[in-house]
Amino acid sequence: MTSSTTESEFGESRESDSDNPSVTKVARSKLSIALAAVFCLSVIMGTGPGVLLVNRPESISGIPLVYAWGILWYFVQVAVVIVASLTVWRSTGVAESCRTHNAPSRPERNSAERGEGELPR
């Protein structure tokens, strides 16, 4: 239940996400799942079987139907990316920059497990 100020990789001071990190984590996780679901839906509807719903030479407000369909899913996808960028990705980036820099990456951990010493340079 603490609030702390940390310095990020690029030297800016940032407040940590919330007083209760576990609540924030759950909310962020739910938001991530919702955004992923909407994005997958937009891919399936915009470029997959969903196209069959509009595949005829008609127009809506003067815009050809297939074109309007593409524009609609473009706005949906862009909205998902904007929300993800401003919420989920931002907090992940901050958390990452707050973490200790000594933690090894997965490839590093693997080479360490194999007992190999120096990484290729």
Binding site: Q77, V81, S97, E108
Partner: protein
């Protein structure tokens, strides 16, 4: 003719200046030459990632494809946000691993994870070459197409355009490395976006505004207004697999991978992903689409039972934008202003082509130096020698791509089918780069695959993908051979893109071999 030449000369001069400035600021080390010291900020990163992704595909290939196929390409444009998401979701873990492991190439990271085998390193390097060479060829072809329209009165204009583009591009990468590539990419990306917007707006204005434009578009043939398009190429499985796999293949290609390594932090890639998704998709949907559709209105296609052919006033599908600029701008804005603006768009097309060619050549040079030269040919060579060998490779790869382009541009060549459209070349290249996906996902998120699984599955994926590309029957097999008949039957049954065929086999083999191998190891240890 004086204004376009002047604008083009100024642009080329600025590029060489950037190359020289990159050289002056560089530290002459391998990491600095290839990754700009891993300190690239968000603006330059966003611009260079966008410029590398888009290339001549954006300003020549895409309008050409819209011109040939019609509205279906609006749906193909939806692949761009997928690439944007991949920039953050794949790019950020790659950046993090690269920073901690000191990696420069894809093979550095993948081989570090699976154990540094010769086979795997060479295979990953091969994927890089299979992606980069067609992509460089595509850009040189764009230079040729541009010159063929602009200097249509001259013999060998195509050849001269391709040669000039390749010489300038190779020169500034050889001089300045990643720093100058990124700086020129930033300039080129700005030109690219401006060119797309300018082309789209001028076309809609010339047709009497948005309402008149849409009215004309609604009168196009039914096949232009629906899926699968005029040639029937964009069947649903093809549309879906291309939209899903092309952006991911374009994001895990060697040049982009190195851009992730060179990004300063997570925030850099977050902002890059955001700008990329919003800006580039918007340009495609609201600028490139009108250009291609307007092309169909102004220069009607010749649709017959034999297929689709461009209007006789348009040399090839990919030339539609340049032909329209040549026609429209002087009529809209008068001789001088029209010529100046159309020269700017022409420079934008050159920028698009060069920004991708330079990134791929630069990545190829890193691949060769790190994964082949200093590891197998001259172990323990000096930094200076590594840089020198990389620069030599840039020259050789450019010359090789140029020769292929010049050969492929002849109608009698067996490469001419593949070289017919820029989009075809792009899809050919992506069919190989996407084969690194199972391995990449395993290295970054799963960690349960084995080295043998990686080697066997990647080989199978590359082989299967190649068999399903248009080049395979042209080069290696007779049309009546059982293999070709089987491949054609499979394509007819499920018209997916070659990359998807390769990836399905690749993924299945990867999982199967990993599971079998780990069980065998467990049984042995018991």
């Amino acid at each position: 003719m004086t204004i376009p030449i002047l604008v083009v000369l100024i642009y080329l001069g600025v590029l060489l200046l950037f190359g020289w400035l990159g050289y002056r600021r560089g530290e002459r080390s391998e990491e600095d030459y290839y990754l700009a010291g891993r300190g690239q900020g968000w603006f330059i990163s966003a611009m260079t990632i966008m410029a590398t992704f888009f290339s001549s595909f954006a300003l020549l290939g895409a309008p050409g494809m819209v011109y040939r196929e019609g509205l279906v390409f609006a749906l193909v444009s939806l692949n761009v946000p997928i690439a944007g998401v991949a920039i953050y979701l794949l790019g950020n873990p790659i950046r993090r691993a690269g920073k901690r492991g000191g990696y420069i190439t894809q093979a550095d990271m993948l081989c570090d994870h699976y154990g540094d085998g010769v086979g795997l390193r060479l295979l990953v390097a091969l994927v890089g070459f299979l992606f980069a060479i067609p992509y460089v060829m595509m850009q040189l072809k764009a230079g040729g197409e541009l010159a063929a329209v602009l200097f249509s009165g001259y013999d060998h204009a195509f050849e001269a355009g391709a040669i000039v583009l390749s010489v300038i591009t190779a020169l500034y990468i050889m001089i300045g490395g990643m720093r100058s590539v990124a700086w020129t990419d930033a300039l080129q990306c700005a030109l690219l976006v401006m060119g797309m917007a300018l082309g789209g707006i001028s076309l809609v204005v010339s047709m009497g505004g948005p309402s008149a434009f849409l009215h004309e578009v609604n009168q196009l043939p039914t096949s232009s207004l629906t899926v699968p398009g005029n040639t029937g190429f964009w069947q649903l499985p093809m549309l879906f697999t291309v939209c899903l796999l092309m952006p991911i293949g374009g994001i895990i290609q060697p040049a982009q991978w190195m851009r992730f390594y060179s990004a300063r932090d997570a925030d850099t890639l977050r902002r890059s992903a955001l700008i990329f998704s919003v800006l580039l998709t918007g340009c495609f949907i609201f600028a490139i689409m009108p250009i291609g559709l307007g092309g169909q209105v102004m220069y009607p296609l010749e649709l017959s039972a034999d297929g689709v052919a461009p209007n006789e006033r348009v040399g090839s599908f990919d030339q539609i934008l340049v032909v329209m600029l040549d026609d429209l701008m002087p009529r809209l804005l008068g001789e001088v202003a029209g010529a100046t603006l159309s020269s700017l768009v022409i420079v934008a097309i050159m920028a698009a082509a060069m920004s991708t060619a330079d990134s791929n050549l630069h990545a190829l040079s890193a691949l060769f130096t790190r994964d082949i030269y200093s590891r197998f040919l001259r172990r323990g060579c000096s930094e200076r020698e590594k840089l020198w060998s990389g620069q030599l490779l840039i020259f050789v790869a450019t010359a090789f791509s140029l020769v292929l382009v010049l050969i492929g541009s002849r109608p009698e060549s067996s490469l001419s089918g593949l070289m017919q459209m820029i989009v075809t070349l792009a899809l050919f290249a992506v069919a190989f780069s996407i084969q690194l996906l199972p391995m990449t996902l395993d290295v970054l998120f799963i960690g349960r695959g084995t080295r043998n699984a990686a080697i066997i599955s990647l080989s199978c994926g590359l082989l299967v993908a190649f068999c399903f590309t248009p080049l395979f029957p042209l080069l290696f097999a007779k049309e009546s051979s059982p293999l070709i008949l089987w491949i054609n039957a499979a394509k007819e049954l499920i018209p997916m893109h070659a990359s998807a065929w390769g990836l399905v086999v690749n993924g299945l083999v990867f999982v199967a071999v990993s599971v079998i191998e780990s069980r065998v190891l467990k049984a042995r240890s018991v």
